[in-house]
Symmetry: C2
Subunit: 342 residues, 2 copies
Amino acid sequence: MLRIALDAMGSDRAPEPEVEGAVCAVRELDLAIALVGPEALLREHVRRRSADARIEIVHATEVIAPDEPVAQALRKKRDSTIHVGLRLVHQGYAQAFVSAGNTGVIMAAAKMILKTLGAIDRPALAAVLPTFAGGRAVLIDVGANAECRPLHLVQFAIMGDIYARLILGIASPRIGLVSIGEEEAKGNELTREAYKHLERSSLHFIGNVEGQNIYMGDVDVIVCDGFTGNVILKTSEGVFDLLRAGLQQELRRTLPTRLGAWLARRAFERFRQRFDYFESGGAPLLGVRQVCLICHGRSDSRAIKNAIRIAKELVERRAPEQIEREIVRVQEADGERIEAKS
Amino acid sequence: MLRIALDAMGSDRAPEPEVEGAVCAVRELDLAIALVGPEALLREHVRRRSADARIEIVHATEVIAPDEPVAQALRKKRDSTIHVGLRLVHQGYAQAFVSAGNTGVIMAAAKMILKTLGAIDRPALAAVLPTFAGGRAVLIDVGANAECRPLHLVQFAIMGDIYARLILGIASPRIGLVSIGEEEAKGNELTREAYKHLERSSLHFIGNVEGQNIYMGDVDVIVCDGFTGNVILKTSEGVFDLLRAGLQQELRRTLPTRLGAWLARRAFERFRQRFDYFESGGAPLLGVRQVCLICHGRSDSRAIKNAIRIAKELVERRAPEQIEREIVRVQEADGERIEAKS
């Protein structure tokens, strides 16, 4: 049976969301969970919720804080839940790692322990965004690589393409490049150079996309460096929070608006379900040799369970092998070695 | 009397919003407007709305499309509304230029015709954002400079600081640097280097800010390169549109939600007024020798009138002179020549 290693101490309210998410996951999905964290604490939490033998506890003594500096945590906390969980995957005991912990540490530890695929220079973090058309789009990279070369972006495009095919089920994903104007000549040095490579590639490249088009549903894979992607993701989250809180304030102000809000409550619920995606799943680190998913620190049990489900799908569909194969295929089709190393 | 040169042909629905905005401006504010565009067309539009002698038409034969390539428009359309309007300011006939036209062309033409201040290397575009706390924050640069050096960001910080003092009335603006983590070591080469300079400067620098903090109200001036700033602005606009349209869809779905929405309509109105800022004013191009404001292409007459009001304030408070003086003051205080030229 497929087994997922789950960092039990990653989220802001750990370990409740993780334990609850694990309980739901084994109930709904056909898999086993290795819950990684302090044994005594977790045993207590699990006992209260489930006696399912498919949830197993793997002891780890150290917990890394969300804001702990990466280098220090990597060096000094080798028995952290992140290290132990990733080692379970590397050793083949589990097939994927899921964590809502410190993103920087998870990325660095995953590259160190799981290793990068041979054909990939830089693993990248992919996020799934909702679109107005009711669909989904992949944004890659959302924070693994603050500094990029043009050919890194081409590799991100290929990985995003595979992810959109495997997980979103899009047959021929439309690839767009984040820039600040639609013409080829707009943008900065990095995007202008990446544009040329993407245009020559065998990918379904549709050109530059601007911030306001990201959510329109006209593009399936949105490619950018990790600095820009992280800014897009965090800004979207900020605007969403701002608007939600602002609307709530206005609705509470008078009796008629409060009554109206109550009458319309189902619409607000559906709205929340539709767009409250920031906490709703995991972002896979694509380009490493095994499956690794990073969840939002604010994750609730539903988000953890969703991330476990996506991790399972990525394992079953052999995402890492597919990425390796696709990079080679595109390189051959394009008669060009996609390599940014130097 | 202070006179504003207004590009009558800039917005998506020109010249209606411009003519209407000009009529409201002369009625409410103590100023005159030089409306720049095809004389016959504008005469007809103005005659229908007002006989106020403070609205004057200045003929310009050419109109630049919103998506027209910058270099071509600059070279070939020297009698465009943008060129003519800026020349009116340069020649001293008007004191500020306002346009909702092609941003790239306005910026390039303004640098060419109005010229850059002696102490500034690169003019930058500043946008005003609403914050949750009910206040306002300045985001600079939102698109004038896709490629920046660290000291350009320091100059943007100084210009943003002045703008926040003059227009938002903030006594000691808190300056933040857009990055992808709060610690100094996070971000890319540009932000890490800029961080060091800002920390040493006499500005009230509070460190890095991430996307989700932009709208919290904890920072008054948000500094970044023009690529990042443009992505932030456009993404915010995209999320706002997505959420507004998505909520409308959900509210229209059933009778109770439609009734609820009708009862709560005042809350939605106040909400719209509070956050519908993307079309609500103008972004000044700071660092040129005279006042130049760029409005959103979607601007309505209210947005045009607001931009005219801000242009007037910037002229009356001598923003360009203040920026020149402040750059020199900070340089002296910091014992360092803030210069990025090379």
